[in-house]
């Protein structure tokens, strides 16, 4: 059983974030980390591997060279190796281009199961897995809060707007897990010490057979035209309750015709 976990290198959550006005891309020059939502996917992969007795967990990522260090956290948790696609020509890839590059990296591994985290904490897309499943032509289950594996199929229970769905998919399959699925383990000291020695491969677009014109901005189909300030909100009023707060709220609602 081979499980690939797609993981993203994201700016540290504590870092001040800005968009570079030149490139109109998120400034990624500061410290980075393994996307916290992907840690749940790593944890789930490790649990499946442990339950099955044998197998391999491979971290597949697209990012700058220095992402490797952040990805080692997954190795410290127990993942077996990392494949990082690091190529200047892939910078600025949108959904169409990113999914193409990731799918190529995954094809090379041909895992039985591909796992994604729920979203990246630096972009509100939460759509990548479906594009990757499409390119791999594999069945997809997203938003999974409970995952089980039996014979040659996965069963996912997922949250939706209306309640929950239980979906079965034959392997090989793509599954995106929600962060409600597990409590990720902390890397042990032994794990951290051992992480550096595990295989960590950096590959280029050429290694994957993806042309430079198919990735990055050249391979993208969307553009950022301009950056603007958010629309203003009206004035805010703040008051301390002196015993009449309920009356004041009612007055306010009547004034604003909200009743």
């Amino acid at each position: 059983m081979k499980i690939a976990v797609c993981a993203k290198y994201v700016p540290e959550s504590t870092a001040a974030r800005r968009i570079d006005p030149e490139t109109k891309r998120l400034d990624r020059s500061g410290e980075g980390a393994l996307n916290p939502f992907d840690v749940n996917a790593v944890e789930e992969a490790l649990r499946l591997k442990e339950a099955g007795g044998d197998g391999e967990v491979v971290i597949v990522s697209l990012g700058p060279e220095r992402a490797l260090e952040a990805m080692r956290r997954a190795l410290a948790m127990g993942a077996d190796r990392i494949v990082l696609v690091a190529d200047e020509a892939a910078a600025g890839s949108d959904l169409v281009a990113t999914s193409r590059v990731l799918a190529a990296a995954l094809e090379r591994e041909s895992p039985d199961l591909v796992l994604f985290g729920q979203q990246a904490n630096d972009a509100d897309g939460a759509v990548l897995w479906a594009a990757v499943a499409e390119r791999l032509q594999r069945p997809l289950i997203s938003q999974v809060a409970e995952l089980s594996l039996e014979d040659a199929k996965v069963r996912g229970k997922r949250q939706t707007e209306y309640g929950y769905d239980v979906i079965d998919a034959p392997l090989p399959a793509v599954v995106a897990v929600s962060d409600a699925i597990n409590e990720p383990r902390y890397p042990s000291l032994k794990g951290i010490m051992g992480a550096k020695k595990k295989p960590q491969e950096t590959v280029s677009l050429a290694d994957l057979g993806v042309g430079a014109e198919e990735a990055g901005e050249a391979g993208s189909r969307t553009t950022v035209e301009a950056l603007n300030d958010p629309p203003p909100r009206g004035d805010t009023v703040k008051l301390e309750d002196d015993g009449s707060a309920a009356e004041k709220i009612l007055e306010f609602l009547q004034e604003r015709k909200a009743l």
Binding site: I19, K24, L26, D94, V96, S99, Q119, D124, G125, V127, W129, A130, A131, V132, A133, E134, Q137, R138, P139, L140, I141, S142, Q159, T160, E161, Y162, G163, Y164, D165, V166, I167, A169, P170, A173, S178, A180, S220, R221, T222, T223, A226, N228, D229, P230, T236, V237, K238, L239, E240, D241, A245, A246, K248, I249, L250, L253, Q254, R256, A258, L259
Partner: protein, 320 residues
């Protein structure tokens, strides 16, 4: 411009967000058509006409009965192979986000997501996308056709215009891998009162409520205001209230006319799910809670005293 709006439906009703998207597309000018996929859904097609669709493409197929994304990608590919549209619009949901993203990969067509507005500027479609916790708004565009757009939920209000739509049946061609995943079970949580996506008024509670038993307070206020009850992620994670009511980054995005936040600190993860509400009223005992920075009216005080009193006052006012 020729628009195609993806219509999502649940238990025999078109979703409010889909209808809102029809109204928005109609307001941009051009031709507005819609696509409806499912089993025994023909009757719903007429409804779309009232909100601005002139034609509804329908594939009524038992293979489209369950709300699974991949067969719908096949259906859209079939339709878009025969009909040229400038843009295909989706209102975001668990289902439609997966469909839109997979369709982008299938067609190598650009998808802009998390949009909070659409405009036609100099004859070009432009999407508005908030970034970095909504502190920046980007104008985004497309370099391929059809332009795929995924709109943040709760963004556009449906406006009934009273037209009627021609129904155009079509037949999808399915791929084997698209039919590989199967729905084994579907369970729907019974929610009391209106769902939070459809509600004009939402009373939401956070950890400041103190415990699950205190939800009675917010339920009473919601009832008095004729609204729905929502919850923050912390409260849902703690098991106090169902996930279907969760507002925020990992839950739903809502934009009711009135949002009353009770015991909610209002961190960015919550803010992104409700900040486009018409009017925001916050009650919190912590004067430094971030929610006071963007609430139209913020009250620093004890919710246990204020909420029941407010409920009484609203009831009295409505009875008068």
């Amino acid at each position: 411009m020729r628009f195609l709006v993806f219509l999502e439906h649940h238990e025999g009703r078109l979703q409010k967000d889909s209808l809102g998207l029809l109204s928005k597309a109609a307001s941009l000018g051009g031709e507005v058509e819609a696509v409806l996929l499912g089993s025994e859904v023909n009757e719903l097609a007429a409804e779309a006409g009232k909100y601005g669709a002139t034609k509804v493409w329908v594939d009524d197929d038992v293979l489209l009965d369950k709300p699974l994304s991949q067969p719908r990608v096949d259906a859209l590919e079939t339709l878009l192979g025969d009909q040229e549209f400038d843009a295909v619009l989706f209102a975001a949901s668990v289902l439609s986000a997966d469909i839109a993203a997979a369709l982008a990969a299938r067609l190598d067509a650009g998808l802009n997501y998390d949009l909070t507005d659409l405009a036609v500027e100099d004859g070009k479609l432009v999407g508005k996308r908030p970034a970095l916790g909504d502190s920046v708004y980007a104008d985004v565009g497309w370099t391929s056709e059809p332009r795929l757009a995924l709109i943040r939920s709760g963004t556009f209000e449906p406006k009934e215009a009273g037209g009627s739509a021609e129904v155009a049946p079509f037949e999808s061609r399915f791929q084997d891998f698209s039919l590989a995943a199967t729905m084994v079970e579907q369970a729907h949580e019974e929610s009391q009162g209106p769902s939070i996506e459809d509600a004009d008024v939402i009373v939401a509670a956070g950890r400041g409520l103190g415990g699950p038993d205190n939800f009675g307070l917010v339920e009473e206020l919601a009832k008095a205001l004729g609204g729905a009850v929502a919850a923050t992620r912390a409260v849902v994670d703690a098991g106090w209230y169902p996930y279907s009511t969760q507002v925020g980054q990992t839950g739903k995005t809502v934009s009711p006319k009135l949002y009353v936040a009770v015991g909610i600190s209002g961190a960015i993860q919550h803010k992104v799910g409700m900040q486009s509400s018409g009017l925001i009223v916050a009650i919190n005992k912590d004067p430094n809670a971030p929610i006071f920075e963007y609430a139209d009216l913020g009250v620093v005080g004890d919710l246990n005293e204020i909420v029941p009193k407010l409920t009484e006052l609203v009831r009295a006012r409505k009875a008068a």
